[in-house]
Symmetry: C2
Amino acid sequence: VKIAVDAMGGDHAPSEIVRGAVLAASNDYDIEVILVGREDQIENELAVCSCGKERITIVNTSQVIQMNEHPVSALRRKKDSSIRVAAEMVASGEADALVSMGNTGATMGASLLIIGRIPGISRPALAMPMPTLQEFSLVLDCGATVDCKPSNLLQFAVMGSLYLEKVFGRKNPTVGLLNIGEEKTKGNELVRAAFPLLEGSKLNFVGNIEANELLNGTVDVIVCDGFTGNVILKFAEGFGAGMISMIKDAVMKSPFTKLGGLFLKGAFRSIKKRMDYAEYGGVPLLGVNGVSIIGHGRSNATAVSNAINVAKRAVEWNVVAGIGNNISESGVSDE
Amino acid sequence: VKIAVDAMGGDHAPSEIVRGAVLAASNDYDIEVILVGREDQIENELAVCSCGKERITIVNTSQVIQMNEHPVSALRRKKDSSIRVAAEMVASGEADALVSMGNTGATMGASLLIIGRIPGISRPALAMPMPTLQEFSLVLDCGATVDCKPSNLLQFAVMGSLYLEKVFGRKNPTVGLLNIGEEKTKGNELVRAAFPLLEGSKLNFVGNIEANELLNGTVDVIVCDGFTGNVILKFAEGFGAGMISMIKDAVMKSPFTKLGGLFLKGAFRSIKKRMDYAEYGGVPLLGVNGVSIIGHGRSNATAVSNAINVAKRAVEWNVVAGIGNNISESGVSDE
């Protein structure tokens, strides 16, 4: 499986990206990584790595889209940017999948404009694996489609179920509609109209799920519009960080609390790790006619390697074709 | 100030409600509490309390709307329910404010149907004080108006600013629009249309605020539609509880971690208390033509007393008249 990785995207690019690529390729003989970016910089980073470079190639590009650039205009202007070239390789079939830790908007834009949508899918969705007390739930959409129609939510549910089943092996995943009450009459116009569509589908739909239940992990796939999903994603990030900073302050208060903190250091670290979204291997942009995985900007080598592994499984299990067939068979196609 | 308290509403009603009323009335000579509910039950609870019963009266009602009842039909059917009668007392001027820890939908319904809206306000908003690393921010709407127009968000901002300034003494509070990016072009149709309205107002508008910044407390008033606000409110509740349960599990793992937990017990308790929404005295339903404060169902006596104090301040500072004047002067009236 050939995976085009945007070597220039992310807060720690290119070093952590290159290390992550080496890690993934040396642990799995089926992975070939194409690092797309500034060849000299990538070579420098590769020189430090002692092993696992056999299945790594470099495609040189001269431009980089920065994290704070406006996605659409940057994509238009920078024809030789790493993310654009990586997307073009997927579109042409030179690569099987795209992985980027860079500017999310630019990665979404490149995926949609260059690779295109799966026939029948009207809007794409970012499917975020959200840590729970069990394992993780998949929340979609988390920001690709901010204004949704009810049929979009149904398509998100179909795509999310298939992805979770194929890539993570979760059989017949349950689907919940994020809402502000349990009854089907609750919620805003969008979710009230989406409920009967989900209820009438072949999905394992379990009804509405309220946000206070999200962390329990009782439902596998959580469907919502991209505005709400993005708010939740960011709120969880800020909330987790805030709780950790409060605990740190509390630990530093006295010699006794410092001692307590010492005994619990390992425990705190494991909670932090468990709640760290970067551990879950990136967020697929579902609905794109090719595998496109978007990682967190602050991804380290392990997170990059996880994202590459997820991309590989999505390619091997034919997630894109699966979504296409499922959408046309289930009659929820928009075209 | 006469405050009608729904003695039958809440998970711990009537005992904690009665205790909270006694607490509030015995600490503040300006507070008179009218406990509305089953007289015999209220009398029983009052018999236990040793002091502070001078400024407490009882209005007997025969019916109770339970937490799980459908609000509108229950209100229609139960003419002698405690919440209905309490709202009627505010409408007739027999009481200055309404406080209930019961069925939120029924309290909102009774407030809107019986007390009515302030002229010029088209939709009401639940204004939740949300704990932050600083103190608290006011998030509105948290569930009263799930489908919003841009002008609703502007009115929420006007009401929230005024409430925070009058009741909590925060001068010229900053207002932020909850969004999924910083730039004014970001977000869904609703927030994109609301941005210029807020920008053109006399409010201290500071632009968009993303959900990861909410806990930092950098903005005083956060404006959003009631669906998004309710999702955040519930997610924060579930997330806080989930983090606490993870920490508990971690502490129980070994004798060392148990010892660490012992040293940090006080610290954990203070964090839990700080993040407990019940401490902040209930959520006002702004836009109603009278003071209406809705408390959390699991409120204890302290929380009930806090809610009664907030109601008193809202009455004394003329929040309702202030909102009415402000809305008509600022030209954001809908009527």
